[in-house]
């Protein structure tokens, strides 16, 4: 591929300024590029010439004088056409790549577990031990912020079990010194977005709808991009995502086959509004 372009351009006619440094024996002076086979050059040249021939044979009378003193080599026409086609493909490619990168884990961190002071496993604590979300995330029903457990909450159990585990040393250290643990944020909204947990939970949006099966994550990662497009999808169609209030903290909840009907019913019952005003989240 890297060799294609010099070959390609040389077969279309190398600009005169380059001809002077053209060395038939070894290629471009000072470069390691190989000179293409002259036969290939001619063949490609002919192909493009024929493609453009029909148009150029009959110069418009108005341009007659101009065509006599032609500035560009005839091949320039072909070059122009190819460039346009190529540029379109290239631009599409770049946009596609940018989109993929933008949606991909590199930018969104979807599926990426981050370093934490303690490799806390939701899977162990939720699935194995059966601890409810709200045991640690105490303010999820009353505040915008779901709440992160104070060290004291960890120590309710870990002063008794695994009390000597090396892996829990940062927790014990925090409890001893009064210095907080600094957890890395997984779900990090931009500062101009104001999300409120309590209203979503109270209106029947389950934890797993946004956070995925946290109960099956040994290390926590996010499963959704948290892009506005993703938020708006639910804000426009809450009936597709809402679940009964008593199922909000059920991590294994599966939407029933009649979600469309159930959703409509719950939206009416819970008085759920489809809020798509900007100031719902931005202020």
């Amino acid at each position: 591929m890297p060799e294609f372009f010099p070959r390609f351009f040389s077969c279309l006619g190398v600009p005169r300024s380059l001809h002077s440094s053209y060395d038939p024996a070894g290629g471009l002076a000072g470069s390691s590029m190989k000179v293409p086979d002259p036969r290939v050059c001619i063949a490609v040249h002919d192909l493009f010439f024929r493609l453009t021939e029909t148009i150029e044979r009959q110069p418009h009378p108005h341009f007659e004088s101009a065509s006599r003193m032609q500035i560009f080599h005839r091949s320039a026409n072909s070059l122009a056409r190819v460039s346009i086609v190529a540029a379109t493909f290239a631009l599409t490619g770049v946009l596609w790549a940018a989109y993929r990168i933008d949606q991909g884990a590199f930018i969104t961190d979807v599926g990426v577990a981050k370093d934490q002071p303690v490799p806390f496993s939701h899977k162990h604590h939720v699935s194995d031990d059966g601890i409810d979300c709200r045991y640690c995330h105490t303010s999820v029903e009353t505040s915008a912020f779901a709440g992160l457990p104070p060290t004291e909450t960890c120590m309710t159990c870990h002063s008794q079990i695994w009390s000597n585990a090396a892996i829990l040393e940062p927790v014990r250290d925090s409890y001893r010194t009064g210095e907080s643990l600094a957890w890395t944020r997984i779900h990090d909204l931009p500062d101009f977005v104001y999300f409120n947990h309590s209203i979503h939970v109270n209106k029947g949006i389950g934890c797993s709808t946004c956070h995925g099966r946290v109960d099956q994550m040994p290390l926590t990662y996010k499963v959704n991009t948290l892009y506005m497009q993703w938020c708006i999808e639910c804000h426009r169609n809450p009936e597709s995502y809402v679940r009964p209030r008593d199922q909000v903290f059920n991590m294994a909840y599966q939407a029933p086959s009649d979600q469309a009907q159930l959703g409509r019913h719950l939206v009416a019952e819970y008085n759920i509004q489809s809020l798509t005003d900007c100031v719902t989240c931005h202020r």
Binding site: K114, A144, G147, P150, D188, S198, C278, V279
Partner: protein
């Protein structure tokens, strides 16, 4: 519509060509490019280089953020939900109850305590701004010994030695200087101190305290009395230079509530008598703006005005006296702090003669502990210091080196003292001249207590541990009393334990803390003896110009000058920011051939200062007003070196006005930064006013009529429906005094940046709500009106039509939304806004670097960056919070549940916000009043913010009203 001409400056009144050009610009463009730090050329040059970088930075990932939970979470804290604590702020010693919002232990916003009599929920601009001082990076952060860092322990060691030495001489040579003290605990400590050290002395000095009020009551009654005025009961008020609506004056918030409350009620209820206010004053105050009849005169002429009024002869005195006599027991005569004691005695005598005593004017004991003539007290201290009689001086708060009267030469005297220690929030001018300086705890970090202007005691409760290990006066007194281990908390609690007469102290204490008032501590009314009026003062010097001293309307006496919110707050009568000036009248300016922007040298009693002149409409002729609070040298980065120090020509014998000054010009061309002369709505009729008779005769006077007024709901399309909520605001101009409390409240609530004088001069101030001031009538005797202007949230908003990126759009509840993250900064919206309420971040105004200032930010509002438009959101964060709360409780939002920041602060209850879909809501009921009108309604914008027109009640017997 009544034909009135409104003007804002003399240039506008004259309609000069220069003014027309100036007014045509939305932003001031005639600033030379070289004066502009980021000129267009420079910007383009820089932009070329930074374009590539800008493109690259847009692709960066979000930075890593951490969540830091508590180690042991306090029980009452729910992260994300603010808590409110009751505490007390003191101004010149007098307490006002507050409720302070705290986010995870970080105080962010001050609100008034509705249960406290001095506040009733309102706050002054200074109170609102006081939270910024807490986080001020220039606050004193460490103990200083001879200007070098030292420790509290070493200070206590050094000072204990001096105390013990003084103790051997029964305290001789030991002096304490405080401000006005109303704190019962501190008073008890000081009493104990004076008992322990009988030869020691306690001096007091407050540069803007209640000097004349004290001396006036002594002159009238032979003993100090405290006067309380009930403006809600008064139909007629005569004010001798009393600026009782100034929210910083004693009981000022309550006076405003009472006075404007009566006006609001009377506007609706014809059976209630609309109050009428007469005022004689020298320099325009907001009280003067509310007056029906304002008599413009030099301060020293107010005495003869009062005398003539008392005699009741001549014009207009006979008419006023007749009016007052017709309302016996229902009128108030009030003398201001800026008048001499004799005028106060006259007012007391007139109230007694009018039968007002015990009805509209009641008397109690003085609320100050150990009330005294503070000027004499400070003079005595200075004399003793100079005589070498003072060995140890402890200055508890205050800044006498800066604010003592100039004739006392306090600095010179201070240097004769062997050991000087200063406790202060800032290492200020006084700290510079003291051996020891101790950082003081801010009131939001302190345990203390205070009495309000009516005697009601309340506890000062801290919201945060002292950030810089500051100490309180209580702790310093404990050091003197040799009880160093007793904390301020234990001292205050211990004092109230001795006061509690009920059964359970713990209950009493918790209730007092929770409610923010100590029940049953309001002073009972007492009847004073007959007032005695001292003989008229000897003929005064009348030649030369009179100098009138006033605390600055924004920064006050100067104690909290280092506060950007207050510095950028426009002074009500002239909308000047960031400095003080010499205010003189137009006639005097013409006589002296000087003009606004001339720098003059002002000489009074041989002392001189230099300041720039502002020709002020409404200022008395041959009178110059200068304001305290400026000319600071060691205030901090915000206030250092701006304006001039008016204390430098103040004399202890004439605290508030001095005669015989000379004014001479020394240069020209000084420029001020004012706010109302840019961004205007010229050739329109924004303010509407009528007398009460006109209103009763034609209740719809405020409604537009005639040509060019579109019929209501003129549109090609069907009117948009707002089925759920329909938010709206009503502002009652009959109540609004123009005190600016709303502006600072908005700034605190919405993280509004401070831009500095240069940017204000370019019309780039950021306040979301501004208070416009209009003059009406002749240039010599203008009426002054105020009009708060937030975003109108037009239903057909012109800004929305022109935004190319839909960054400003309409919500389903009729809010005009501003979406910062969409805004690309074209400024088309601002250009198209007829109300000029949009504010653009031309530069990075928000301080993102000073870490201590992060604490003051409201976490519920985005901190805006450069290149983004912003404007009033109707406090959308409060709307959303209330809606979420209501939804969670499965009920509709109650009327009055959503209170905008401006509404909450307003002492006049002029602003009401609510749901227009609810016909019984307060705002809907207000908008049904006939005085309701919209600003620039003829543009068919359908503003959601509307006004209730101003009503006046002039005396028909007095001409020219």
């Amino acid at each position: 519509m009544n034909p009135r001409n409104y003007w804002r400056s003399f240039e506008e009144l004259d309609q000069s060509e220069e003014f027309r050009q100036f007014a045509a610009d939305e932003f001031v463009h005639r600033i030379p490019a070289e004066a502009d730090a980021a000129s267009r050329r420079k910007f383009l040059r820089l932009m070329g280089a930074s374009m590539a970088l800008a493109g690259a930075t847009a692709c960066t990932k979000q930075p890593k953020e951490t969540i830091v939970p508590y180690v042991r979470q306090p029980e009452e804290i729910v992260p994300g939900n603010p808590l409110f604590y009751a505490t007390t702020v003191t101004e010149a010693g007098l307490g006002t109850g507050l409720l302070v919002e705290s986010h995870e232990g970080r105080p962010t916003k001050i609100e008034g305590n509705p249960d406290h009599p001095a506040s009733l929920g309102a706050t002054s601009p200074q109170m609102q701004a006081s939270v910024l001082n807490l986080y001020d990076p220039d606050r004193s952060q460490t103990v200083l010994h001879d200007g070098i860092f030292d420790t509290w322990e070493r200070f206590t060691a050094a000072f204990s030695g001096a105390r013990d030495l003084a103790g051997l001489k029964k305290g001789e040579g030991l002096r304490i200087l405080t401000g006005t003290v109303t704190s019962p605990t501190l008073a008890a400590q000081l009493a104990e101190f004076l008992e322990m050290f009988p030869q020691a002395k306690w001096h007091q000095w407050d540069p803007c305290g209640r000097h004349s009020d004290y001396a006036g009551s002594v002159a009238a009654f032979g003993a100090p009395w405290n006067t309380i005025y009930h403006f809600e009961r008064a139909a007629r008020i005569a004010s001798f230079d009393a600026d009782f609506l100034d929210p910083a004056s004693p009981g000022g918030l309550r006076s405003t509530r009472d006075y404007t409350g009566r006006r609001r009620d009377a506007a609706q209820d014809p059976s209630s008598e609309f109050p009428r206010l007469y005022i004689a004053e020298s320099t325009p105050s907001i009280t003067g703006g509310m007056a029906e009849h304002r008599f413009r005169m030099r301060s020293r002429e107010v005495e003869s005005f009062a005398d003539k009024l008392m005699s009741g002869n001549g014009d207009p005195y006979a008419s006023i006296m007749k009016d007052l006599n017709a309302h016996r027991g229902e009128s108030i005569v009030i003398a201001g702090e800026y008048q001499i004691p004799r005028v106060h005695a006259l007012a007391h005598a007139m109230n007694q003669a009018l039968g007002n005593t015990g009805k509209t004017v009641v008397y109690t004991d003085r609320v100050e502990a150990n009330p005294m003539d503070q000027t004499a007290s400070l003079a005595a201290l200075a004399a003793d210091m100079r005589a070498g009689a003072v060995e140890t001086l402890l200055i508890l708060g205050g800044n006498p080196v800066y604010d003592a009267p100039a004739d006392l030469d306090f600095v010179g005297a201070l240097q004769q003292v062997k050991l000087r220690a200063h406790l202060g929030l800032y290492a200020n001018e006084t700290a510079e001249w003291c051996h020891w300086h101790l950082p003081e705890a801010h009131y939001l970090e302190s345990w203390s207590d205070a009495r309000a202007w009516d005697g009601t005691a309340s506890i000062v409760q801290p919201l945060i541990a002292p950030i810089y290990n500051g100490k309180t006066s209580h702790e310093l007194l404990n050091l003197l009393l040799n009880r160093t281990d007793l904390s301020a908390h234990d001292t205050v609690r211990g004092f109230w334990q001795t006061q509690n007469k009920g059964a359970d102290f713990e209950d009493f204490w918790q209730i007092s803390l929770h409610d923010g008032v100590v029940a049953g501590t309001t002073f009972p009314d007492k009847t004073p003896p007959a007032a005695n009026v001292p003989p008229a003062s000897a003929a005064q010097q009348t030649a030369g110009i009179e100098i009138v001293f006033r605390p600055d309307p924004a920064v006050g006496s100067g104690a909290d000058s280092n506060n950007g919110w207050l510095q950028e707050l426009p002074k009500p009568p002239n909308k000047m920011t960031w400095e003080n000036a010499v205010w003189i009248s137009q006639a005097t300016a013409q006589r002296l051939a000087i003009d606004t922007g001339d720098v003059v040298e002002l000489a009074l009693n041989g002392r001189k200062l230099q300041g720039a002149v502002w020709v002020q409409a409404g200022q008395a002729d041959e009178s110059a007003a200068i304001h305290f609070g400026y000319g600071r040298k060691r205030a901090g980065r915000v206030a250092n070196g701006i304006g001039f120090n008016a204390y430098s020509v103040r004399d202890s014998k004439a605290l508030w006005h001095g005669a015989g000054a000379e004014v001479k010009r020394i240069s020209r061309g000084y420029s001020f930064a004012t706010t109302q002369y840019t961004q205007n709505m010229e050739e329109r009729d924004p303010f509407r006013v009528a007398t009460i008779e006109e209103f009763r005769a034609r209740p719809g006077f405020a409604q537009p009529e005639g040509e060019g007024v579109p019929p209501p709901n003129l549109t090609m399309f069907p009117m948009w429906q707002y089925p759920k909520h329909k938010w709206g605001m009503s502002i009652d101009l009959t109540a609004c005094t123009g005190c600016n409390a709303c502006m600072v409240a908005c700034q605190a609530e919405n993280n509004i940046a401070v831009v500095g004088k240069e940017e204000v001069a370019k019309g780039r101030h950021m306040n979301w709500i501004r208070v416009d001031r209009y003059f009406s009538g002749p240039a010599s005797e203008p009426e002054m009106y105020f009009q708060p202007v937030p975003c109108m949230h037009c239903e057909d908003a012109l800004c929305e039509l022109v935004c190319p990126v839909a960054a400003t759009v309409h919500s389903g509840e009729g809010l005009n939304e501003m979406v910062y993250n969409r805004c690309v900064g074209t400024r088309y919206c601002s250009n198209n806004c007829p109300y000029k309420v949009r504010r653009f971040n031309f530069l990075l105004y928000s301080d993102w670097n000073t870490q201590s200032l992060w604490g003051v930010r409201n976490p519920d509002v985005t901190v805006r960056s450069r290149g983004v438009m912003e404007k009033c959101s109707y406090c959308i964060q409060r709307i959303n919070a209330a809606k979420i709360k209501a939804e969670e409780q499965n009920r509709p939002v109650r009327d009055g549940e959503i209170v905008t920041a401006c509404q909450q602060a307003c002492p006049a209850e002029a602003i009401v916000f609510g749901d227009l879909n609810d016909p019984n809501s307060k705002v809907a009921r207000r908008k049904r009043q006939q005085r309701d009108y919209g600003l620039l309604e003829e543009l068919n914008t359908h503003p959601r913010t509307t006004y209730l027109a101003r009503l006046r009640n002039p005396n028909p017997e007095i001409g020219g009203a």
